[in-house]
């Protein structure tokens, strides 16, 4: 019997620890295990007994790359529990803050993590040696996102200005206007990014995804919407648990999220673009057309292009929000009436995909239980399928090349372990 094992060691990282194990038997893929340890598991225990108002600041520290997403899902969940409605300029400011995080996170992934895969470099440092201008472009784009996060969030990383009901402090019109030049410049860099990505060589792939994303009737969903899928699912975000389930699997401490039927699904830019593309801004749509991006992208290697289109959108949307901004009467909305305890649940669109939070609160506002479903936990099973198909298509490759392709298949979806996979060591066993 012929066995071939591709094993990639662990590398400890705060945003998640991951490894990959692929076993082939008689020339066929026997099993694929993407092992991820999701930090939110531990944060959920940490949240118990804390006041509802602490959740945004605590959950913001779960992920250094997307703190706004954790803040946003937590405040929306708490506001649902308390019956608070946030609209007008406060709602727009939240969306603007989210634009900052999308720009920051996508720029990091496109230029520092993903581009080296296509250009034949082990990492962005080697890419910078030969092509510093490309890396500088990514850093400049990221800096525009950081500027938004710093102004609205109070800090670039781990924003502290977000609270249940709104913000501790809202910016003046002048402060927002001061960001216009950097965002206009970022928009041009984002357009350039799409054209840059379009020139990259893409491996052939075609995956049958069930895409899952928030969908809003009037806008490219970030903070609000129904949970929809490409196979007909449509439910309020607060009823997420009715359609999806999480279960532990033996080889990872993460709870793998699947549809109730047991099938994997995909969240993230590919899903958003496929389900909500009609709500993209005119410039984002035209740039997508210029580079021949199909309305539904099923080749995961082309996700770098979709992130580029979302970068264009986020810059344009940020400029639109700034142009329409009227400072709100008050920086936050207070809960009204007596609170009797209850459950609040909400989902928002993190850069990597749908992020679901559910809290059960005691009458005094203390958190009794917390449940956080991160995008990477939702994509884990689907990424394993991608890896399986990559291996099946590429069995003739030697171990080094096959491992490289497997790691690329993982990085396509920007999991929290994607930085680590640049440093993973390969171990091959042959029998």
């Amino acid at each position: 019997m012929s066995e071939r094992t591709i094993a990639v060691d662990y590398l400890a990282r705060v945003e998640g620890e991951g490894s990959l194990h692929v076993k082939l038997r008689e020339g066929r893929v026997d099993h694929v295990e993407l092992r991820i340890f999701e930090p939110p598991r531990f944060f959920e225990a940490f949240l118990r007994g804390r006041m509802y108002s602490e959740a945004p600041d605590i959950t913001a520290r779960i992920c250094g790359i997307c703190p706004v997403a954790y803040q946003m899902s937590s405040v929306h969940a708490m506001e649902q529990a308390y019956g608070i409605s946030v609209g007008g300029s406060l709602r727009a400011l939240r969306r603007l803050l989210y634009c900052g995080e999308w720009i920051e996170s996508h720029a990091l992934h496109v230029y520092l993590l993903h581009a080296p895969d296509f250009l034949g470099y082990p990492d962005a440092i080697h890419l910078a040696k030969d092509d510093p201008e490309t890396v500088k472009r990514g850093l400049a784009l990221k800096k525009a996102g950081n500027a938004l996060m710093q102004l609205l969030g109070g800090r670039e990383i781990h924003p502290i200005n977000v609270r249940v009901g709104g913000f501790y402090r809202t910016p003046s019109l002048e402060e927002l206007e001061s960001l216009r030049p950097v965002l206009e410049s970022a928009l041009e860099i984002a357009v350039e990014t799409v054209h840059f990505a379009a020139g990259l060589p893409f491996p052939e792939a075609e995956e049958e995804y069930e895409f899952v994303a928030l969908q809003h009737p009037d806008e490219y969903a970030m903070n609000e919407g129904e949970v929809v899928s490409s196979r007909g699912l449509r439910i309020p975000a607060s009823r997420f648990d009715e359609a999806f389930t999480r279960a532990p699997v033996g080889y990872t401490s993460a709870l793998q999220s699947v549809r109730k039927e047991g099938t994997p699904y995909l969240v993230g830019p590919l899903a958003r673009y496929a389900l909500n593309g009609r709500h993209l801004s005119p410039r984002a749509r035209s740039v997508a057309r210029e580079v021949g991006l199909e309305p539904v992208v099923r080749n995961p290697f082309r996700s770098i292009l979709v992130r580029g289109v979302e970068l264009v959108y986020a810059c344009e949307e940020a400029l639109r929000i700034i142009a329409a901004y009227q400072p709100p009467d008050a920086p936050w909305v207070e809960p009204t009436g007596k609170f009797h305890g209850g459950v609040g649940a909400a989902a928002t669109e993190a850069p990597r995909g749908l992020l679901y939070h559910r809290y059960r609160l005691a009458p005094d506002g203390k958190i009794e239980t917390a449940d956080i479903v991160a995008p990477t936990a939702q994509n884990q099973r689907r990424i394993e399928e991608d890896v399986r198909h990559v291996v099946e298509r590429s069995l003739a490759l030697d171990d080094a090349r096959l491992t490289d392709l497997c790691e690329r298949a993982i990085r396509n979806h920007d999991p929290c372990i994607s930085c680590a996979t640049h440093f993973l060591r390969l171990e091959v066993e042959r029998t």
Binding site: V14, P39, F42, G64, L139
Partner: protein, 172 residues
């Protein structure tokens, strides 16, 4: 809008960057050093807290003179062991590469900064060997001791103006 709780004033002179995540156990070591250092060195030293992202670090230290960075590391050494390293033109030693707990490592930031010509003229890294990263856990006793020692060493290096105070035990 910068939080006064996380940054000391000063646009010229030395820059101290405390790197870490406040609610992940020993990962907060660099942040704690930054906080304990403030009363010892006064306003002439700019002190910031950072998660240690590559782009963020390049923005912080680009064009600066003297920069001191404190971070928790995991290189297989004994818990609480710490080291001081002057970063030159060479990459950081392999014992530090990839051991940072904050996304792309500090070593990556140094390497990228060197490639792009975005380094301070003088960079010193203090690394504290960490052991516990559970959400919500306090600094381990070994790391707490190292925080105290590094704070004093760095204050001496910067030129102390105050006296050391006991290291605060963080919320558990």
């Amino acid at each position: 809008m910068t939080s006064p709780a996380t940054e000391s004033a000063g646009t010229v002179g030395p820059l101290v960057i405390g790197v870490g995540n406040e609610v992940r156990g020993d990962d907060a070591a660099g942040l704690q050093v930054a906080r304990d250092l403030r009363p010892l060195v006064g306003d002439r030293v700019r002190i910031v807290e950072s998660l240690g992202g590559v782009a963020e670090l390049l923005d912080l230290w680009d064009g600066r003179g003297r920069v001191y960075l404190i971070d928790a590391v995991r290189s297989g050494g004994a818990a609480g062991k710490w080291l001081r390293l002057r970063v030159g033109a060479e990459p950081l030693p392999s014992s530090l590469a990839g051991t940072s707990t904050h996304g792309l490592s500090i070593a990556s930031a140094v390497a990228l900064g060197q490639q792009l010509g975005r380094m301070p003229t003088h960079l010193v890294v203090y690394g504290i060997e960490a052991v516990r990263f559970d959400a919500g856990s306090p600094l381990s006793p070994e790391v707490l001791g190292a925080v105290r020692q590094v704070t004093v060493a760095l204050a001496d290096e910067l030129g102390r103006v105050g006296t050391p105070t006991p290291v605060a035990v963080r919320r558990s």
